[in-house]
């Protein structure tokens, strides 16, 4: 049975409206005399068609601005589509932000009831689940304390606990797991897995490909407001990872007064042995920092880690007040042919985390067959991405 039937959905924003969130009377009087031009229209979504079956868990992925959140907002009936229609066959609950409607002055107990009722639970249903909710959140001791005295982690746990006991036929979740510690994230994924196993239909937006892969059977890739691909989660994630792999440069505005910040990363050259990187870091003070590199393959699996300083403190980079430029070479001779994503972290090891550029860059390893080889390892074969040397001793 089809639970969610999205037919030709489009959402149009006026560009002026996007930039400026509200109008004043004067502006609207003045602009009513001007002719509105078609060029001011911006389609956040256009011609989106999707059918989601009962019990399906669908990941929705795409770059920032691809229209993922707009689609969820339309599905949750928060905003209206400009064209097309959606048929929902069942009760829908959406979790676009954890803790919506929490009030800082109210106690944990009071907030469970308030938040639950805003999310669409009856007070009887909340009462019946109250103990489970409190237990899942782990804030038993503080349940009668106003939540303004809670840590942000406690608030988050409480909020997710309420939401996870919603019992809709269709559950829509936006990137709510981007926060919280890893233990709690695991708990959330586990809980969502339970929800999806029990036959509920799940729509899940995330930038974290690992949670999409572990939670969803199928996925949808959105780009510039339209569906690029729908298929098994594996295929779509791979397609997405390949589509982000076209940047070789990253830049951000320097912050010369505050914490150290990565202002530029550039791949200068890349062959089958060495990857040469150019990194610019701004800082407001003289400080030592560690620069770490995470390598991920096309399935977004972590395959390698390299660091200047995190493992050996003598390698820490001296940052000056101003912009420090680094050029460094990384040995990539053991990687298989294929596309890779690179993330850069800037930290003071075990003390403070300064900045992260997440999967900002990609590079391609294109190996040539050497004299003593007959072929090279390809990432796409599915044997992994790192080539180990195997020495043959003897054959019997």
């Amino acid at each position: 049975m089809i639970m969610v039937d999205i037919q030709n959905i489009g959402k149009k924003y006026r560009i002026g409206q996007e930039r400026k969130k509200y109008h004043t009377l004067r502006e609207s009087i003045v602009s009513s005399f001007k002719r509105k031009s078609k060029e001011d229209d911006y389609w956040a979504l256009r011609n989106v068609n999707l059918q989601i079956k009962e019990g399906e868990a669908v990941g929705i992925i795409g770059k920032n601005g691809a229209g993922k959140s707009t689609l969820l907002k339309i599905l949750s009936r928060i905003t209206h589509p400009s064209e097309g229609k959606i048929i929902l066959n069942g009760r829908i609950a959406s979790l676009l932000e954890v803790g919506t409607g929490f009030h800082q002055e109210l106690t944990g107990r009071e907030n469970i009831f308030l938040n639950g009722s805003i999310l669409g639970l009856r007070s009887g249903e909340i009462k019946a689940r109250f103990d489970d909710i409190v237990e899942f959140s782990g804030v038993q001791k503080f349940i009668d304390t106003p939540i303004k005295f809670y840590s942000s982690g406690m608030q988050l746990r409480l909020a997710f606990a309420v939401a996870s006991y919603l019992d809709p036929e269709i559950l829509v979740i936006d990137e709510v797991l981007a926060v919280g510690d890893s233990e709690f994230q695991k708990k959330c994924i586990g809980r969502m897995n339970e929800v999806s196993k029990s036959g509920r239909t799940l729509l899940f937006v995330s930038h974290d490909m690992n949670s999409v892969l572990s939670l969803c059977s199928s996925a949808v890739l959105l780009d510039k407001g339209s569906v690029v691909m729908k298929g098994s989660a594996n295929d779509v994630v791979q397609k997405y990872s390949a589509s982000v792999s076209d940047a070789t440069e990253y830049s951000a505005t320097p912050d010369l007064n505050g914490k150290p910040k990565i202002v530029s990363v550039k791949i200068e050259s890349c062959d089958d042995e060495l990857l040469r990187l150019n990194i610019g870091i701004s800082s407001g003070t003289k400080i030592k920092a560690s620069v770490d590199f995470h390598f991920r393959d096309q399935m977004n699996r972590m395959i390698g880690f390299g660091s200047l300083g995190a493992l050996t403190y003598s390698d820490l980079v001296d940052l000056n007040n101003g912009i420090t430029e680094l050029t460094l070479d990384i040995d990539i001779s053991s990687l298989a042919s294929g596309d890779y994503n690179l993330a850069v972290d800037l930290t003071q090891p075990n003390v403070e985390w300064f900045d992260r550029v997440f999967d900002c860059l990609s590079f391609k390893v294109d190996k040539k067959v050497k004299e003593n080889e007959s072929r090279v390892l390809q990432q796409s074969w599915g044997y992994g991405s790192v080539n180990f040397q195997v020495n043959l001793k003897s054959i019997r």
């Binding site: 924003y13 609207s28 949750s76 229609k85 959606i86 066959n89 009071e110 999310l119 036929e169």
Partner: protein, 273 residues
Amino acid sequence: MRSTVISPGKSNFALDIKELWTYRELFYFFSWRDIKVKYKQTILGLVWVVLQPLIMMTIFTVFFSRALNVQSTDLPYPVFCFTGLLFWNLFSSGLTSAGNSMVSNANIIKKIYFPRLIIPVSTIIVSLFDFLITVGIFAGLLVYWKFLPSANILFCFPIALIITLLTTMGAGFLLSALNVKYRDFRYIIPFMVQILLFVTPVIYPISLIKNDLIRSLLNLNPIATAIQLARTGLVGGEIPWLSVVSGIFASVCLLFIGLFVFRSVENEFADIA
């Protein structure tokens, strides 16, 4: 299984009563939240509900009755003034909080769906709660002053309350919708309430106005009708049926205008709030 259709449809101005009924608990929870939060971290707490009208009544009694010598027809001035303030405060606090309600709850509106009308209605319920407490005090004061109201009060007070509530809702829906679109209303609302206080016979009797034309214009104001009806109920005498009908008519008209504007802007709330 319930089936829902989401479409751009803007033609549907009919109020979805069934949906409001499914969400009925939210009325309670929103007003409960506002009542809880309103007097948190105040030392006097709920005493403020009692003190506000008492202080206002005392101030008006001292200035208007003693200093300016305003004549208050058949009722002692404090009783006269308190009756007016009772309904006036319901209207003014309801209107102010309803007018700002959509903007101050923008974070919820942008994240969760529920019938938006619940938000302004709940803030008016909060004002109604204050009103009911004040009525209790009013009854106490009547005993203290040894003032015996006529039996008509049992008819006049409820009707006056209904007229005031309908008017507050109509104007509140209208302003809350406009406020989301044009934030100018955040500044306009306090002035509007001030001006309305002067053109409504809250602290002076309408008979003070000698010009017939102005007096009949002022009588179009449903709040003026409600207050005068309540006073008639206290004094006794003939119930002014004409003004009962005109008051209800005016407030119902206002309610429909408010609902219409609210419903027509409702779909855009999340995009512009």
